[in-house]
Symmetry: C2
Subunit: 304 residues, 2 copies
């Protein structure tokens, strides 16, 4: 058991308590969605900001060119090859096969992806919405290979980042760059629009080193059926389809997931999670040691 | 081992040999797709027949009314409840949960579904395309429940019906009636159009009682990656979406599958397989005893 006095105090005033003996429920979000004003002074205009506030995500097409995407795909294959050879913990293989599912910490291991993480096309939007300097909380590439790509079940990223990483508040967002065409049928990203306005408290206890299982197949920190049905009946489902080079910006607390992929067309994406510098992680809110640095930047929080 | 002299002879002239030591490959189909003439004398007109011949399937919307669909859904729940209580072999539960995945032989156990199986809206189309009297080779309801509905991997029905049931030739088709709305994202039926013009020979040996595994998760009789990719590059993927009460007629040899369903919306369907009376099953083409009657009508081949 990992305990320290600061953690106990932190637990007592945890407004986003989840797991650890609590009862599953839906509670209102206690934080802003947009930390900026809704006007046209920033990179994204007010209709786009309003859409983000309403739905919890924003899709921007044609942010990266096909030439750029091709260099990303090549770098992704290089990283996968490297990790296959080294068997590093930073690469996660699929639960149902030996194929690489994700590689983490790509903003530090790859000079190319380090540049992408700080590209103004991404970072300036994160800075605008979060209205703060930002740093990379987590980065990864998801391969979602053809034929045997496994699902990602519905979850709020924030629930895990709060409980297991100690992220205090909802002041972070992800930018997902599509590297292959996202069709309706190859396991595209799905959102429940509006679900970011609630916090879904989940049941269960977090075992130590939960991430070793959860990154292959998440079984903790997932909303129960009744709560999912309720949020779905309100917001429906939005599927992100489109050409490579698009970017999906999404709130840290919006419920999302994706189906498995049995088609021959892989559905690969880069993910960069931007956290506000004022929202740096503390001790985890569960009784476990912090997750490794490759899943959660704790030491390296240099702002972009 | 199940052997008889007729079987050995049958094996020697097996034009659709698959599994049992053969090498995976794609060979041309040796049978007609349409057994009728392409004209406007039958229930379906010549453009629809041409489309079926080209793609291997035909979607007909609004065949059953919502009132009829509601009675089917109620009957489906009754059957699931009955099978949950009795633990019958004829009900298959999901690999990943205890929920009912399929219930078989519904054209015999349910008077309502017996009537549906012989409904002229289905049977007359089967008779037209197969140009013969027809009987039900297999019937089932697939529940594809919400949240945890598992995928059906790519397969040709005929490959299994030939190898494991002894169906001699490609002169059968399925009619699938949609009972819930089929969205792009709740695991709808997917086809590789044009794939029915080939026969994909699969590798592997058929163990006895393979159906006890394969009906939960098919691992035999599935095309290899290279062959799927090749047929996909030619025909792409077609996803069947639409309102309840539609019917999808599809050739026994067209490659089809469906993704898992993590959404709250179940994707339930009735399936009736019509086989030409002249194409009744013989001994299986593998060295296993015949599968049970609930998976393959061997004794009860009364024409509709």
């Amino acid at each position: 058991m990992y305990t320290e006095s600061i953690q106990t105090e932190q637990h007592q005033r945890d407004i986003y308590a989840s797991r650890g003996g609590v009862t599953a429920k839906i509670v209102p979000r206690r934080d802003p969605i947009l930390y900026c004003d809704i006007d046209d002074s920033g990179v994204i205009d007010s209709p786009a900001l309003q859409s983000y506030r309403k739905n919890g995500f924003l899709v921007v097409d044609k942010v990266f060119t096909q030439v750029e995407v091709n260099t990303f795909l090549q770098e992704m294959e290089n990283l996968a090859g490297h990790h296959r050879r080294s068997g590093s913990d930073e690469a996660i293989v699929e639960a149902g096969s030996a194929e690489v599912r994700s590689v983490f910490r790509i903003h530090e291991t790859s000079p190319l992806f380090k540049r992408v993480a700080s590209d103004r096309r991404l970072a300036s939007i994160a800075e605008q919405i979060l209205n703060d300097r930002v740093y990379i909380h987590q980065s990864r590439v998801n391969f979602k290979p053809g034929f045997r790509g496994e699902k990602f079940y519905w979850h709020s990223d924030f629930e895990t980042w709060h409980v297991e990483d100690g992220m205090p508040r909802m002041r972070a967002l992800s930018a997902s760059i599509t590297l292959t065409e996202n069709y309706p049928w190859n396991g595209p990203l799905m959102f429940i629009p509006g679900s970011h306005k609630y916090y879904v408290v989940c049941e269960g206890e977090t075992p130590e080193e939960n991430y070793k299982r959860s990154l292959r197949r998440q079984e903790l920190g997932i909303p129960d059926d009744a709560h999912l049905r309720s949020l779905y009946s309100e917001g429906g489902i939005h599927t992100v389809v489109g050409k490579p080079g698009s970017v999906v910006f999404f709130d840290c607390n919006v419920l999302h997931g994706s189906s498995g992929n049995i088609t021959p067309a892989p559905r690969s994406n880069l993910f960069f999670v931007y956290n506000a510098l004022s929202n740096r992680v503390r001790s985890p809110y569960c009784d476990c040691p912090p997750r490794p640095e490759y899943l959660c930047s704790r030491k390296n929080v240099t702002p972009i």
